[in-house]
Amino acid sequence: MNSSSRSAFANHLLIYTLVAIGFSGSIGVGTVWLQHQISLVAKANKAIEAKLKDCERQSEQATTEIAEEQDVSVLLARNATWRLGLIPPGKEAVQQVTEDPIAHMVLKHNREVFAEANPANSLAPISLRLALQR
């Protein structure tokens, strides 16, 4: 390249112009690509957002349907249709106990266990005699 003659300026101008065109073109292409990527990401975000909202809607729909199924009139109808024979608890289903309820339940359970082991309940009462020796 002639860099010292009179055409040097023109050569440089041409080179720099081409470089500038190439550079600005690549910037332009890059920008377009970038905007396209932004657009894709935005669309993807929007789709995810819509999907989340859809999930929320479905969840709310399911919640409402569950609540409707738990309505007393519906449950009573199911009880009748399926012949479950369930009855509401009444006062007679509650037994008042005077001692500690845990001890009461343990005693009751053990009584049943012993009764199964020995239906005739024929075990003689055991008495232990302690003799103190001096």
């Binding site: 905007q35 990401v41 809607r57 479905q58 037994q95 008042q96």
Partner: protein
């Protein structure tokens, strides 16, 4: 570079051309971006700019155990563009009609009507503006039908603002207006909509919206209230805490393409919606169900004018259940006839009646609290007249003549509901102090109950009392009228140990993530009587619900029940021989009530409940044609109490037996 090509002239020319071209581009850019900026931006703004509304989801109303009483569910507004329908799809119309719940002839009529006469409604300019703003619905529409669905969504939402749901185009040459969109149904569920879209009928579009759902229909209808079709809260908790429930809509400022699809990358501003808070009530759905089933039983047996049952925790003032008869279905409020509109009234707070003998608790409490009497102080209840403040006053008659042959103790006055005894107690207290006690018990003033257009009731001011007031007021007649909630509150004074508590419904307000925003606690209004007086009164009221008391029907074996019956004659219009119509106490129309609590002497850590049963005019279907609170209301109190005992694990009060209880499986003992 060869000299032949790279001559100065050619290179300079080429460079100049390139520069000129770039210069031209630059000038054009300046032209577009600077000189024509305003005009072009205006055009762009008009065509591409959009503001997408992000509607907030209304919060839920839940009961004490988080059972949903009111929620928002996604619903689809289904509509059609009659001009876009294809004849080939007509065979699918019966399926569409079945899915949409529309009679086939109605559907066919809607779909085949393509024009409306010139006199049809014209969408206002504002409606068109809202159409532009309504584009946000498009993202919710079914994929694959984006543009038409967006248009349909616009039309649907724009139509929602208009009186008529149908959206019309501009008139054609003949003056007829083509129908752009007609609503088929606004109650299509997601699952149904999926089936409809699977039919693949062109021109049928849906747009999603949130609608209020009341899964339990009639349950606690007067408490929960409802949101109307315009999504405005009308009554109940829905209206009272609308500020918390409604949330705040969000919005997105963005641009749209030629297909009216949002260009998400051009979103400039985004304000997310703030969904409404959830409101937790003190209402227990199970207790409410028991209350409403008892009201049904009362209605079936007596066919009263109206009835109310309230269940509350007297120590906190929180209402566990509040039911009225008649009631209504929250999902069908718009199907009530004009005559049935009154069913929506919360008569527990907006209807007053003379409380009758329940009011005797005021006279007895006042006399005991002031130390003027003790439970054994006796009064002659056979007297016809008595001197009070230097004048002879007529004492009221007793309900049962010749019943009291000996002077009655204060305990007997309460147990047997003696009118003469109550009057003498009030006279002992004196006008001023008796009036003050009545006010302190909450009569003649609103309780502050949050829902139902509460009224203050009536307590005639002292200055307007006549000579008979001091003898009639203590028996709850004449100068006093109260609502059921006021009676519940007044009896609560005795149950709570002398404190007047504000009846409350809301326990807490929380956000969607469950974080508590505000929690409500017991609200003490004032101390009315001492704790000792309250305990004494509880004991006296136990005498009422006993074999020897006035309401043995309320007695529950093993439990100490305190309560008071009330039977008030209703004031009915009476025509005099002169033709003049006056109000007079009727012997055929009564308001009967029983207000009580149990266990009367529960410990601080033991559950105690208060129940008020008020039945208005059960006379016509009552046995022997006459009624008393003990016969009508007290049995309902007991029925309800028996159901509440196992459910709420109510244990006998310390006065009866101090013992825990065990629920046996399957009711075995």
């Amino acid at each position: 570079m060869s000299r032949g090509f790279a001559s100065n002239y050619r290179i300079s020319l080429l460079a100049s051309l390139i520069l000129l071209a770039f210069g031209g581009l630059g000038v054009r850019l300046v032209w577009l971006h600077v000189l024509d900026r305003k005009e072009l931006l205006g055009h762009i703004q008009q065509v591409r700019h959009e503001v997408i509304d992000e509607p907030a989801v209304r919060g839920n109303i839940v009961d004490l155990h988080d059972n949903i009483l009111a929620t928002s569910r996604s619903m689809i507004v289904l509509g059609a563009d009659p001009s876009a329908l294809r004849p080939a799809d007509e065979g699918k119309w019966p399926q569409l009609a079945a899915l949409a719940g529309i009679p086939l002839p109605t559907l066919a009529s809607l779909l085949t009507t393509k024009f409306r006469a010139p006199a049809g409604p014209t969408p206002a300019p504002g409606a068109r503006a809202s159409l532009v703003f309504s584009l946000p619905a498009a993202p919710n529409a079914t994929p694959g039908a984006a543009a038409p669905a967006a248009a349909a969504a616009d039309a649907a939402l724009a139509a929602a603002d208009a009186d008529d749901d149908t959206v019309l185009a501009d008139p054609d040459a003949t003056g007829r207006r083509p129908i752009k969109w007609v609503k088929l149904s606004d109650e299509i569920t997601e699952s149904t909509y999926q089936k409809i879209t699977q039919l693949g009928i062109a021109g049928i579009y849906g747009t999603r919206t949130y609608r209020r759902a009341y899964p339990h229909h009639e349950l606690a209808a007067h408490v929960v209230g409802y949101v109307n079709q315009q999504q405005e809260p009308v009554c109940g908790i829905e209206s009272y805490v609308n500020f918390y429930l409604r949330g705040e809509n969000g919005w997105v400022e963005s641009e749209k393409d030629g297909h009216r699809q949002e260009l998400a990358q051009f979103r400039t501003r985004e304000v997310p919606q703030a969904d409404g808070y959830n409101v937790k009530l003190s209402i227990d759905a199970a207790v409410q169900t028991m209350v409403e089933s008892e009201l049904d039983a009362i209605a079936k047996k007596y066919q009263p004018l109206k009835a109310t049952i309230i269940v509350s925790d007297p120590r906190t003032g929180f209402i566990l259940a509040l039911g009225n008869y008649p009631t209504f279905d929250l999902t069908a409020y718009n199907k009530l006839t004009k005559e049935q509109q009154s069913w929506m009234r919360n008569v527990a707070v907006d209807s007053q009646y003379e409380p009758g003998s329940v009011f005797k608790i005021v006279a007895a409490s006042a006399a005991l609290d002031l130390g003027l009497v003790n439970v054994d102080t006796r009064f002659d209840c056979t007297l016809e007249k008595i001197e009070y403040k230097g004048k002879i006053r007529n004492l009221p008659k007793e309900d049962i003549s010749d019943h009291f042959v000996h002077p009655l103790t204060v305990a007997e006055i309460i147990a047997h509901s003696s009118n003469k005894g109550a009057a003498q107690l009030a006279m002992l207290v004196g006008d001023e102090r008796f009036y003050d006690y009545a006010r302190n018990f909450g009569f003649g003033q609103r309780t502050g109950f949050p829902v139902g257009s509460e009224i203050a009731g009536t307590l005639v001011p002292l200055a307007k009392w006549d000579g008979l007031t001091i003898t009639r007021l203590p028996m709850g007649q004449g100068a006093v009228s109260a609502t059921a909630i006021q009676m519940q509150q007044a009896m609560g004074v005795i149950a709570s140990g002398g404190l007047l508590l504000r009846p409350q419904l809301i326990t807490q307000i929380s956000d969607r993530e469950g974080r508590v925003v505000y929690a409500y606690g017991p609200a003490v209004v004032r101390r009315v009587i001492s704790e000792q007086t309250a305990r004494t009164m509880s004991t006296l009221l136990e005498g009422v619900a006993s074999v020897n008391g006035g309401a043995p029907q309320a007695e529950i074996p093993g439990y100490d029940v305190a309560g008071k019956t009330g039977t008030a004659n209703k004031v009915m219009p009476k025509t005099l021989p002169s033709g003049k119509v006056i109000g007079a106490y009727s012997q055929q129309h009564h308001v009967t009530s029983f207000v009580g609590f149990f266990p009367a002497h529960a410990r601080a850590n033991e559950r105690q409940v208060e129940i008020a049963v008020v039945v208005d005019d059960p006379d016509a279907h009552a046995a022997r044609g006459t009624v008393y609170g003990a016969w009508v209301a007290a049995p309902s109190f007991k029925n309800l109490a028996l159901k509440l005992i196992p459910y709420l694990d109510i244990r006998p009060g310390s006065a009866v037996v101090a013992s825990p209880s065990l629920a046996l499986e399957g009711g075995r003992r």
